[in-house]
């Protein structure tokens, strides 16, 4: 997880694969953050979740929001973008960790009344995302093509 309210900063998370990159940004206080989580559910290994909460959706997502709130950001003003959750061809059901990562986030957002503004999810492409803190502009790079503004 990376968070910032320093205007010159850009935050980036590389090569998401089946992981999800969650970007949140409050344009009023110009603060934001990126979480790159790998797995949907921390109950699978509580000890590891304690050492590295950012590995899991359920333990990482609340921490990302809290950290950006500490800059004075507010939930209702937050722009939210997600990317990642790709799968290997024919990867279905419980084995599709990308899809499960996405569903875990959707479930939490639904419960907490959080809306996703834009997303680029699924398929079998690899993604890298970047956000510029001064403007809140988000850029997406998918495997085999150039970085593009979202």
């Amino acid at each position: 997880m990376k968070v910032s309210n320093i205007p010159g900063d850009d935050l980036v998370t590389y090569s998401l694969g089946s992981c999800i990159g969650l970007v949140i940004y409050d344009p009023v206080v110009k603060a934001g953050g990126i979480l790159h989580y790998m797995l949907p559910d921390s109950t699978i290994d509580r000890e590891k979740a304690q050492n590295n909460p950012f590995m899991f959706a359920d333990t990482g997502i609340p921490r990302l929001f809290k950290s950006v709130y500490s800059f004075g950001a507010k939930k209702q003003r937050m722009n939210i973008y997600i990317a990642g959750g790709a799968g290997i061809l024919d990867q279905k059901g419980f084995f599709n960790i990308g899809k499960r990562n996405y569903m875990a986030l959707k479930k939490m957002f639904f419960k907490n009344n959080v809306l996703i503004r834009k997303q680029n999810i699924g398929g079998n492409v690899n993604r890298t995302i970047r956000i510029y803190i001064s403007t809140g502009d988000i850029f997406l790079k998918t495997s085999g093509s150039r970085e593009k503004k979202v």
């Binding site: 694969g17 089946s18 992981c19 590995m55 061809l89 024919d90 079998n124 085999g144």
Partner: protein, 282 residues
Amino acid sequence: MSTIQELIKEIKNLKPVPAVISQLLEIVDNSDSSMADIANIIQYDPVVTASVLRTCNSAFFGLKTPAESIKDAVSMMGIDQIVEIVLLKSTYKSLSTSQNGYGLHEGAMWKYSVSSAIIAKQIAKKFNMQNKNTIFTSALLKDIGKTVLDRFVQDSFEKISSLVVHENLSFSAAEKKIIGIDHAELGAMIAKMWKFSPRMVKIIRHHHLGDISMVKDKEIAAVYLADCICMMIGIGVGADGLAYRFNYEAMKELGVASDDISLIIAEFAQNMSAVEELLKVV
């Protein structure tokens, strides 16, 4: 000259990995061989010995007293760790170049190879498999074919990519269709030329399970799964994306449930910073 002839010419020009690897692999998974046998093989190669000792004595491993010989290093760090260091040292040069066709920047193939090897060994341990070092090394070198095929993939990328997008072919099936050979086949040819065991050649050849009949081979399935896990966590994923086929039979064969995959990912991720350090010291 046909593409295949050109490729054969190129693999003949590859700088081979040190001979110590094949000698080591011949005895390392054999239960009759002793630590002393293994240490002997390593110390006959002075270049490898010096470089292994330098790594063992680096701050990363934090030995209280420096290891002065391979025997010292083995007794302080355990044989498995030393064998791994030798294997990593001996393959670094071959695996650390950038791959423009596959969209892997310098160092990305190296990280991918080492991560695959570590995950494959995790799988081998979890399911009590024999031949852990063969599995580790096969996973380490499984994509050696990409280093040679890269230029050809770059030249034909649009065609390959179009088959993946429009005909739902896996990236390696598309490579085969367009270039006439895929990176796993080419990797097996290289492994054979470097005199690796037929076992390792076979694992490298089939690491994408393109030939479904190979699914019953647990060692191939373990290396295959390690590759899938790397893709899922975005390691070594370049222009080819995750466009390889997932095989449920392989999971059944290994007795792997989806939770096992999550646990393997969590364990690997926990050690990620140590892995990053290891990449640097090697």
